[in-house]
């Protein structure tokens, strides 16, 4: 129910299964401490709770029952529950994946790959690129400082380059969202638009948000049609 995995830059990832009942937390964490007592003290650890909600008492019990006694240094608390992210932020706890120590050329970020769908009210915020193998339902949010790729339906909000990078793009398998944000720009899309429910790429060019079919559609004469059109603003 709780797994420890090595990541880049000698960071450990502690993945707490969403199926683990909250009542079983204490025992499972004690077992991890017991098994990992050689490696845990001083280790930099990402605590990954998936979509689990983290109410204040649970966070407090994890701190006092696991984080402090095991001697680990938590570099990030990962949850897709938006309300829990706010609670963690208010407590001064980091909710973003750690940045790599040796920057990748061109972009100082790592990618986040999620094999799941996001429901209304769930949010992913990540410094780097985000790839979602699943759907982003209406009312869910994906924020990435880099690019966003959604191999599924986008009905919720995607904001690529949320720290201001307007070279970012959003690639979607089925575009069903009325709005997409890139950097400081907002593109909006009508339900009647040709791009609705199609596979598209959204980017910023000449200060405008653009949407285009991906791969490009061709007419009977083999010419590309509607390769790019401004959405709005």
């Amino acid at each position: 129910m709780i797994k420890l995995k090595g990541m880049a830059d000698s960071v450990l990832r502690c993945i707490i299964s969403e199926e683990l009942p909250a009542s079983g937390f204490g025992e499972a964490l004690r077992a991890v401490m017991e098994k990992g007592k050689q490696i845990l003290p001083g280790a930099r650890v990402v605590l990954d709770f998936g979509a689990r909600a983290l109410p204040e008492p649970l966070i407090a019990s994890i701190l006092s029952g696991f984080v402090w006694p095991s001697g680990i240094c938590v570099v990030a608390w990962i949850t897709y529950d938006a309300a829990s992210q706010e609670i963690l932020k208010r407590g001064g706890l980091s909710i973003s994946e750690p940045l790599p120590e040796s920057p990748v050329v061109g972009r100082n970020t790592a990618s986040l790959v999620l094999h799941r769908s996001l429901r209304s009210g769930q949010r992913v915020e990540h410094r780097g690129d985000v790839i979602i193998v699943g759907h982003v339902n209406s009312g869910a949010e994906v924020l990435a400082s880099g690019n966003i790729t959604i191999i599924g339906r986008l009905k919720g909000l995607a904001h690529a380059g949320y720290e201001g990078d307007e070279n970012s793009s959003v690639v979607v398998r089925s575009m069903e969202a009325p709005q997409v944000r890139i950097g400081g720009k907002i593109g909006s899309l009508e339900r009647e638009a040709n791009w609705w429910a199609r596979n598209v790429i959204v980017s910023v060019r000449d200060e405008r948000v653009l949407i285009e079919y991906w791969p490009p559609l061709k007419n009977e004469a083999g010419e590309e049609i509607a390769r790019e059109r401004p959405i709005y603003r």
């Binding site: 009942p21 979509a51 009210g121 009905k155």
Partner: protein
Amino acid sequence: MASRVIVVTSGKGGVGKTTTTANVAAALAEMGNKVVAIDGDVGLRNLDVVMGMENRIVYTLIDAIEGACRLNQAVIRDKRVENLYMLPTAQSRTKDAVTPQQMIDVCNELRKDYDYILVDCPAGIEAGFKNAAAGADEALVVATPEVSSVRDADRIIGLLEAMEKSPIRLIVNRIRRDMVKRGDMLGVSDVLDVLAIDLIGMIPDDEAIITSANSGILLTASSGSPASRAFKNIAARVAGEDVPFMNLDSNESAGIFHRIKTMFGF
């Protein structure tokens, strides 16, 4: 059999939580189970009206929690359906009158005497929802085929998953076959496609529901209307029976979603 606590919820208001709670509870009772339906909507109670028991309330859930009476004094027995009981809530109080722990205690107390405890949840995702869901093991999510209802149901399912309720199953209510056919309404397959949870029942839009809710005479007891059959089927599926969803139209293509869409035997 271990007793089961099931919360009936939706997120959005007005989609049929109370009607579903009342009728599924009655159908489960008619099958021989001892069932209590709890009105979890403190301050906006309606389960008593739908179940035709509003003039029999002496004590409420809140009285029992505050110690003004014993829990079994607040429970009302239905005179028409054997084994069916209802625990009303207070109309003059607000959601703050209960805590999640108190609801867990009430549900655990009722587990000793009942096979099924159905909790009618208020709309919203705040304290009222959290209280109603606190004591439940599993959930029935009611949604109508409207975009707003589906989005709210999606939010509620996310919260129920985080609260570790299982199974969480879907009831699609107020389906109008003619509108679905015309493409003016989402089909059941569209709703399932978004929500990605198991379907446990589909209820047609049926005038008999309104008549029944206003008169306080439960559908399951009074008529053989399509909605009444739908509620009975849902109750049977809750009890673990394998009830087929559909009157399959053999002329239709055989895709599973298409089949579900075309079945209106409910």
